[in-house]
Symmetry: D2
C-alpha cells in the first residue's frame, strides 16, 4: 500500500508539491448518493487556508477546489472523486537559497538521502501545503458521518507553546484565529504571537479533537484498532510528535480504580478511555490530543551543512507559519473524520449495516460522558 494513500475502504490518495502546478487527491470508496458540491468542500478549506490573519503565513492561496469526477447531478455516484487545487502563489525564488542546504529540523535532508533527488521549492512534497488535500477529502467524510450517523467532529487548540488554554465552549472556537475554545484568552495569545514573530522564532502547540455521536462497535482488533488508526492518521500530520487517546500519558500514573470508566444503566461515569476500549468504539466521545512541534523554517540563523557536507549557517526567508499548530485544527478534524468513515465502512462490511441477526443489549446513554474535550 502506498504511503500516499490513507484508508482501507474509504481511501484518499494525495499528490502535489508546494510549488508545482497543483495539489489534489482521489477519494475512492465513497458511498453513493451523498449530496456534495464544491461549496461544501470550500467551506472547510477556507478554515485552513493561509493569509487569514497576521499570525499565519502570508502566502496568497485561494485554495479553490475543483471536483473532476465522481459527482453527478449533485450526488456522489460511488466512483472515484478527484479533487484539484491549483497552486497560485509559487514564489520559488524565495527558496533558491535552500536548494543546496538543509534546514535544521526540516525534512530536506531525509528526502534527499532517501530519493537521491528532491523538489526543494517550498519544501516540495514535505510542505504543509499538502494538508489542504486532507481538509478537502475530510469535508466529504464529515458530511457523510453527520448525515448518516449524526456524528460531529470538532477540534480546538488547548495549548499555544507555554500558554494553556482552558476549555470554555465549542462556540468560541471559530470566533478567533487560533481556534481557541476560550475568547477571553485570545488577547494573551495574540500578544504571545506578536512577540514571537518579532523574535524570528517559532513555537509548538497542542490540539484536542473530539468526535461525538460515534456508535459503539467501530474498530478492528488487534492491530487495526480504531485508536491505532487514529494514532497513525494524527502522527501522519506534518510536525506532529505525539498522540494521546483519552487520558493519554496521564494514564501512566493512574490506578485501575481511577482509570477504568465505571458503567451504570444510565451510561459511563467518566471517559478516561477516550471512547475506545480494545480498539473498538464504546459509544462515548472519541478524544484525541496531538503535540505539534515548532516550525523548522526560521529567520534566525542555525548551524547546518550543505550537499557537499560543508558547515553552513541557514536561515529561511520564505513565508511561513510561526506556529503551524494554529492551522492544524481543521486538519486534525479531517484526519479523524477520514479514520471514522473508513471504520464505519469496514464495520458495515463485516457486521452489517443494521444488526438484526444477533440480539443486542441496550445501548448505554452517553449522559455520563466527559464533557470536556480532554480529560486533563
Amino acid at each position: 500500500m502506498s504511503g500516499n494513500t490513507l484508508g482501507t475502504l474509504f481511501t484518499v490518495t494525495s499528490f502535489g508539491e508546494s510549488h508545482g502546478p497543483a495539489i489534489g487527491c482521489i477519494v475512492d470508496g465513497c458511498p453513493p448518493g451523498l449530496a456534495i458540491c464544491e461549496a461544501d468542500i470550500q467551506a472547510e478549506l477556507d478554515r485552513r487556508k493561509p493569509g487569514t490573519s497576521r499570525h499565519v503565513t502570508q502566502r496568497r492561496e485561494p485554495d479553490t477546489v475543483e471536483i473532476l469526477s465522481g459527482v453527478f447531478e449533485g450526488v456522489t455516484t460511488g466512483t472515484p472523486i478527484s479533487l484539484l487545487i491549483r497552486n497560485q502563489d509559487q514564489r520559488s525564488k524565495d527558496y533558491g537559497n535552500i536548494a543546496d542546504t538543509f534546514r535544521p529540523g526540516h525534512a530536506d535532508y531525509a528526502y534527499l538521502q532517501k530519493y537521491g533527488v528532491r523538489d526543494h521549492r517550498g519544501g516540495g512534497r514535505s510542505s504543509a501545503r499538502e494538508t489542504a488535500v486532507r481538509v478537502a477529502a475530510g469535508a466529504i467524510a464529515k458530511k457523510w458521518l453527520k448525515e448518516r450517523h449524526g456524528i460531529v467532529i470538532r477540534a480546538c487548540m488547548s495549548a499555544l507553546g507555554p500558554v494553556q488554554i482552558p476549555f470554555v465552549s465549542w462556540d468560541e472556537v471559530d470566533g478567533n484565529p487560533f481556534f481557541a475554545p476560550n475568547a477571553a484568552i485570545v488577547p494573551e495569545l495574540e500578544a504571545y504571537m506578536d512577540a514571537l514573530r518579532k523574535s524570528g522564532d517559532s513555537i509548538g502547540a497542542r490540539i484536542d479533537v473530539v468526535a461525538s455521536g460515534v456508535p459503539v462497535g467501530w474498530g478492528e482488533p488487534v492491530y487495526g484498532r480504531l485508536d491505532a488508526d487514529i494514532a497513525y492518521a494524527m502522527m501522519g500530520i506534518n510536525a506532529v510528535k505525539g498522540v494521546e487517546i483519552g487520558a493519554g500519558f496521564s494514564a501512566v500514573a493512574q490506578r485501575g480504580t481511577e482509570h477504568g470508566d465505571e458503567m451504570t444503566p444510565a451510561g459511563f461515569l467518566s471517559n478516561h478511555a477516550g471512547g475506545v476500549l480494545g480498539g473498538i468504539s464504546t459509544g462515548q466521545d472519541i478524544l484525541a490530543s496531538i503535540a505539534i512541534k515548532p516550525t523548522s523554517s526560521l529567520r534566525l540563523e542555525r548551524r547546518s551543512i550543505d550537499r557537499a557536507g560543508n558547515p553552513v549557517m541557514v536561515a529561511t526567508e520564505g513565508r511561513h507559519d510561526p506556529c503551524v499548530g494554529i492551522r492544524a485544527t481543521p486538519i486534525a478534524e479531517s484526519m479523524l473524520a477520514l479514520v471514522l468513515i473508513d471504520h464505519a465502512l469496514r464495520h458495515r462490511a463485516q457486521c452489517g449495516d443494521v444488526r438484526t441477526d444477533t440480539p443486542r443489549i441496550p445501548a448505554l446513554a452517553p449522559e455520563g460522558s466527559q464533557r470536556l474535550p480532554s480529560p486533563r
Copy 2:
C-alpha cells in the same frame, strides 16, 4: 486489509484467543536465507512470558513455539513462516462470572456490541496473551535487522506509575523483573508493587523504546510515515493510550531554535526529532515512548452493568498482571522491529538496495546523537 495483519510487505497475521487451543501467526514476506530456529524465537518469548516474578500474572504458560513452515534446513525460504503456540493453562472457570457482565475499562462491552457474540474466557481475543505472537514474529524481524543492517532495538521502563526511573544504562535492563535501566531503583519498584498487589489495585507505566543503527532514508511520506507506522504499531499494543516520537509532548512548549536539531559535518547536535523528519529516518536513533494504562481486571469491586442492562458490582478473580506495563517492554521492542523491517523492504522496493543510480552526500556520523533513550 485485515485488522489482524500488521505490515505491508513483511506481514504478521495473528490469531488466537486466551483460552482457545492455541495462539500463533503467519509471518509473510520474510527475506529468504535468514538463519532462524525455534530457539531464536523462544529466547525472546521467555522475556515476555508470565510467571517469571511475583509482580506479574501467575498463569503458567511455557509459551513453547513451533515453526510449521517457511524454514528449511535452518534458513528461511521466502515462503510464509507459521508459528504456533499451544495454550496450556486455560482455567476457564476463573472467568465464569464475567460471561454476562462487563469489566469497567475492559473491551468486554465493545466486543459484544460489535460482534453480537464474544469468547469471554480470559478476555478471548482482547487478552494480552495475544502479544506473545508479536514477540515471536518480532524475534525474526530483530534478527534480520541486526544481521543485515546492524540495527539494535532496546526498550526499558521509564516510569512505573508515579515513580520516575532515571536512565542509567542498557546493561541494567535485563537484570531485574521491571526492565528498569537502573538497578538502584529496583527496591523502590518492588516495594511499590508489593503494596499495590496487596491493595488489589493496578497501575500504569511508561516504556521507552530505541532503535540504533537505522539507516537514513527509511519511511514513506505523506501518510505512511515511519513515525506514523510506529504510532500505529505502538497504539495497537493492548492498554497503550499515548505515543511520543522524540521530544513528543515536550515539543508543545519548545521554540524552533530549541527543537530543530542542528547539523554539523560531524553529525546532529541533538535528537528532539527522535530520528524521524518528514516521516523519513535521519540516521539518528529512533526514539519512541508509550503510555500504558493500568490493568482493568481488579480484585476491587466496581460499578458496571450486565448483558440485560442491570446494574451490578464487578470484581475479577482471574490471574492478572497488576501492571501490564512490566511485560510490555519486549512487546514494544518487537513492534518497533516489525515496523522497521517493513520499511526496510518498502524502501528497497522503491529506491533499491544499494543506491548506485544517484550521487549521495556523505552520511552524517551519529556522533552527536542524543545518548539517552528519551530526551526528557
Copy 3:
C-alpha cells in the same frame, strides 16, 4: 499485500509445504454469528483429498482439519479463524533425486532462482497440496453465501484431455471420481486414464464453475472487477493456464447482436456475459471456465539441467496425479466462493446491506438465464 493472502476483506492467508509438519491458513474478516464446525469443513476437504480413486495420487493424507481460533460455542466470533492440517504421509525419500535437478514444466527452477533456496521435498510450497487450504477456507465462504444469500456454487469437468464431456446434470457430478456431469461418459474417461497411467504420461483438463443466486450489484470497477478477481483467483490455482468468463474466447468471433444479452421484463434472454457486465454482477449465473495443464511430474524421462547447469535426464518417481484437473473441481468452487464473499462484504461496505436510501428498479427474474454451465 502478501502473495500468500487472498482477498481484501474476507482474507485467507495460507502457509505450508508439501512435506513440512503442516499446512493451514488464517481466515480473517468472517462475519460473526455463522454456525461452523470442523465437520462442515471436513466434508469439503474429503471431496478433494488424495487416494479416493485409482485415477489420482495414492498419497495417504486424511487431511484432518483442526479449528484453532475464531469459533466459540459453534459460531464464528468475527475474530481470525485458524485452520490447521497436519501432514501425515511425507515420504521425502521419494524426492531425493530432484533436490539438485529441475523437472521440466515444474516450478523448481523458478523458485530456486527467486529465493536462492528451496524446499525441494514434494515440490515444497509449489505443491498442489497447498490447495487443501483453499478448500477448507472455501467451505466457510460457501456456507455463509448459501445461508445469507442462497447462493449455490458448483463445478464440473467439461473436458478430460481430448475427451469432451457434454453437460447432462449437476446431479451426476458427485457420483464419479472425475466430477463429470455425465455418468454415461465415465467408462470412456476411466479407459482413457488407465491407458494414460500405463504410458507414464499426464494430461490436461477443463473445469467449468458456476455460481447461482448471486445478487445484482457485486463487483468494483474499474480494476477490481468481479471478473478480474475471478480471473486472478482461478489463474492462482496450480497448473491453470487460461480463464474464461461467459462466452470467453468464443466472444472473439461473435458479433454484437449475438453476444450482447437482450433483456425483457421476464429476464435476460441469454448469458454470454457470464453474469458480469462492467465488472459488476448482473444477477444471472456467474460462469467461468479454466484450462488446467498436464502434471509436470512424469515417470517418463525428459531433458533438463542440474543446479550446476549440466544436462541431465529427469524422471519423477513420487506419487502424483496424472491429471491434476480431476481434483481441481472442488478447488475451483472454493476459489469462486472466496471471491464472492469478499465482494459481498466490499459491496456491503460501500453501498449498505439493504439499500434503502435510493429507489431500485425491479430485479430481473433470471428465468431466461442460460441453464448450461457454460455457453459452449
Copy 4:
C-alpha cells in the same frame, strides 16, 4: 484496497467519467531518478487515441496529458505522479436517449443496480475512455522496465472476429490501424470492417501480448502469482472475456511430455508455459492472449427494458468503436507493463536488487525460447 487502484507497490489510482471534466490518475511508488516528460507519455497515448482511422470511434479527443506532480527538472522524485487529461469532445446529447434504458451487453444496468445512481453520459465511468489513463501510466512503467532491465513489451492483434492473423513480424504492427503483425492481411481486415460498419453491428478480437527480457524470479506464490496478476489486469480491461498464459486453453488437450518445456544448458526448448512456472517468471518471454467481446453500443435495435421495467427497443447513436479490440493493443501492453513493474519492485523488496547473499545457478540463455508471440 480500492477497485480503482491497480498494483501493490507501483500503484495507479484512476478517476474520471467519459463526459465529465477530465480523466486521470495518480501513479505512486515510482522509483526516483527516472527521466520522464509529457512527450514520453503522449507518444503512447497517441497510439490509443480515437479518430486515427475510419475503423475506430470518430470522437475528437487529443488526449493531451499534463503532469501535475512527482517530476522535477525532468526526473521522477519518488513522490506521486499525477496525470491529467481534460475531456474535450463531450457531446452528451448523443446519449440522452440512454438515460432511462439499458443497452444489452452494457454495464448500464449493473451500475444502476449497484449504486442506485449513475452518470449515463457516454457510459460514465464504465466507458472505455478510462483506458487512456492506463496507457498514460503504462508509459512510465514501460520506460523504467526498458531502461532498468531492457524489457520490451509488445502486443498485436491475432484475430479480428473470424479472421485469423498469422504472425509475420513485430515490425509490421505499427504500420496499420489494426496493430496487425502482418501487412498482407490488412486489406482483408479493412474490407471486413467496412462491411461491418455498414451493417451497424460490432465484432470481437483477440490480442497477443509479449514481454521479452523479463528476469527469472519475478512473481509471488501462491495467490499473488505473476500470471494471476496478469490475468487480473487483463480481465480488468473493458470488454475482455478470456485470458490465456502460454499454451492457454490448448493445454487442456496436451500431454505432459508435450506441454512441459524441456531445458538444456543452452536454454528452454519451447515455451508452453508462457514464461511463468509456479507463478514465477522463468526468464523466457511472457506470453498472454486476451479475448475481447464485440462492442455493446450498436445502431441496430435490440430488446431491453427501461428503468420502470417496461420493454423497450434500444439502439445507440453515439460515436463508438465497432471493434474495441483494435484500440486494445496499446492498453494490453500497458497493463502488462504495470504488472511487471509492480512485481519488479515486490521482488526487489523481499529478495534484494542484486542477489549477493546466496549462490545462483547460471541463468539459462533464452536461445531456445519460442519466437512467436503465442504458441498457437
